[in-house]
Symmetry: none
Subunit: 208 residues, 4 copies
């Protein structure tokens, strides 16, 4: 999985002509464009090559398959995100994170990529795993961390599984997409509020 070697620490320059970083960039860019415009099924390695002004070899030298290429392309989206929000208000923070992710997913090839990975899951589970590691899990960790701050501040009970809470809040967004139900900031807030009640140390007031 050459495309993903992270920090090749302390490994003197390998022999041979180094890879062209410009090609790296052009490939991922073209992939992302096609992915966004045409969806995963409509994107082809051949088109990516031609659009990026690059030989097919140059792509396959970096990524072993179309799937892997797509994953890598989505991977670069991550960097657009700033640091996790920290307004001092846990509820505000968690809403902001979810909205952020929702926006990224909805505008962009996010769902299409996830779809492709689910399709390939049986044949090539490593790809989905890779995507999790690189893209999804870091986000989840952010969300959990924000909730953890809530625990530290005494806003959130210490005896609940924060992961499960994140599953519910983030999953609601997935569910709405798959169900075709309307998504909106309001609904995200409603979702958070419902879950929040289950997390909060102070019971909400009984309905009058």
């Amino acid at each position: 999985m050459a495309g993903f070697q992270k920090i090749s620490r302390q490994q003197g320059p390998r022999p041979g002509r180094p890879r062209d970083p410009e090609a790296d960039r052009a490939i991922l860019q073209a992939t992302l464009k096609l992915l966004t415009d045409q969806g995963y099924a409509g994107m082809s390695v051949e088109r990516v090559a031609s659009e990026a002004g690059v030989g097919k070899t140059t792509i396959y030298r970096r990524y072993a398959s179309k799937e892997e290429l797509a994953v890598a392309a989505v991977g670069i989206l991550r960097d657009d995100f700033g640091p996790p929000p920290n307004t001092g208000n846990t509820r505000t923070d968690i809403i902001q994170i979810i909205v952020q992710n929702q926006v990224a997913l909805e505008h962009g090839p996010g769902f299409a990529i996830i779809g492709a990975l689910l399709v390939e899951e049986r044949r090539n589970p490593a790809l989905l795993e890779l995507f999790r590691e690189r893209i999804i899990r870091p986000r989840k960790d952010e969300a959990v961390m924000v909730l953890q701050r809530g625990v530290d501040r005494g806003e959130i009970r210490a005896d609940v599984d924060l992961e499960v809470a994140v599953h519910a809040m983030v999953g609601a967004m997935f569910a709405r997409h798959i169900l075709g139900d309307l998504e909106s900031i309001k609904r995200i807030e409603e979702t958070v509020d419902i879950v929040w009640t289950g997390l909060a140390t102070k019971p909400r007031l009984p309905t009058t």
Copy 2:
């Protein structure tokens, strides 16, 4: 969308040779088998035809595309479900529904199909819509109905959006699959309990 005409309403026997119902069966069966064994990407209409001992034409006369075929195949799974549970205990009922769906999804081609539909979403949104209508929405409606019974019994507040509650509970399951996080009955119960607190008319007792 030939595969889905359920009730050919009152249309005297059409001329010509009638369709072979055995073929219908064999096609869906073979599709389901390949879908389950190889995943969506590994299933091909050609293989289905040969496995079912049927001409490709016979498939395409019934389903307009590979996607539609897959959707129809998944559709037959639905019938395995009995009527929605009604134990008198809303919490028990909703847990049972979610577990039921979780099991069906995890041991079948469910996620692979959903993936394929997400992949195709941009080019062919009708398919995802079809799947929603036929498979997903009925289940959601069941869940909402169960919660509505809770409202009627006074267990659940009347001012919350029950759909949002369902999103959170069902979505958590999706989220765990996509995140690769462990799924279990225990976690499903935890999820329901957290959400339940947000729905219940009686506040939970403050932590001692």
Copy 3:
């Protein structure tokens, strides 16, 4: 080697759509054109397909490889030849045959094809053998037959190996091509005359 099935004797019409004879024709024609214009190395199956207005599959359904396609294409040249000459004069007949072959080889892809087959000989000897059977051997047999008539007429000795005589006469033509030596009718006649002396029943007069 589907392209070469000869007489499928008495085999009731096979099921399924029959092969398009127009495609057969267009493929071989396009192949021959590219072969002649660009040589064997410059011809590509992809170009043949596009030039013939045909899918690549349609070609590969008939011929297992580029080589086989080329052989088949050259095969259709054979039909341009009329019956072997029979002027009553054996020497005239044999000259005519050789000239005929020389012309066909020199203005067509003949040498390029033979070259390709020699190149492939070690990996795929069947192809060269196929070419021999279909194209070369029939011609040799014609030449031998003409000489045999000479034997019958008493012009040619009965104790010489006529095949060897044909090798020498035809081979001289090959040799000149490979050596890059000038070829001409005059040289063909000289070749035949030299060999002829070795074949003739009547010794040539000693040089004065």
Copy 4:
């Protein structure tokens, strides 16, 4: 055509690192091996490089193309030949030459190379010409020279074109290879005898 500069006439040692003669050797050796084992089509510059433990650059610095490399590799075979035979008997000498060539061609990549050059003839005629100059023509000249000695001795008529005679004798060998007809010393002798009759000053005795 760097590979063939024989005499770098009087050009004081060029600056820079001199070429490694060991590389020269290893390249041609590996080429010859692959050529013999796999045929021309099965040989690739990449494999030669790796087999010779040499960079591709090092090959392309010496030879401009795969074809040229192959030609050069075959060229080194030539040196295995001793001086042309001179037994005093012209017929014996010429047979020996032809047998020698036949053996060299049949065991070795000779025909495959000739094939490759015929394939490339239209696009790159210079290569075939190079091969003629370097490999084929010298041999033909040897054969003609041997026959010329026969003329000088009065064994062979002075009014025949000796080249044509060589074409016939050598060509018969080519013809047998291409036709797939059995080759043997006996047949070579028969060939020479037939041609010899056409060349000889003394007519052969009429058949009894």
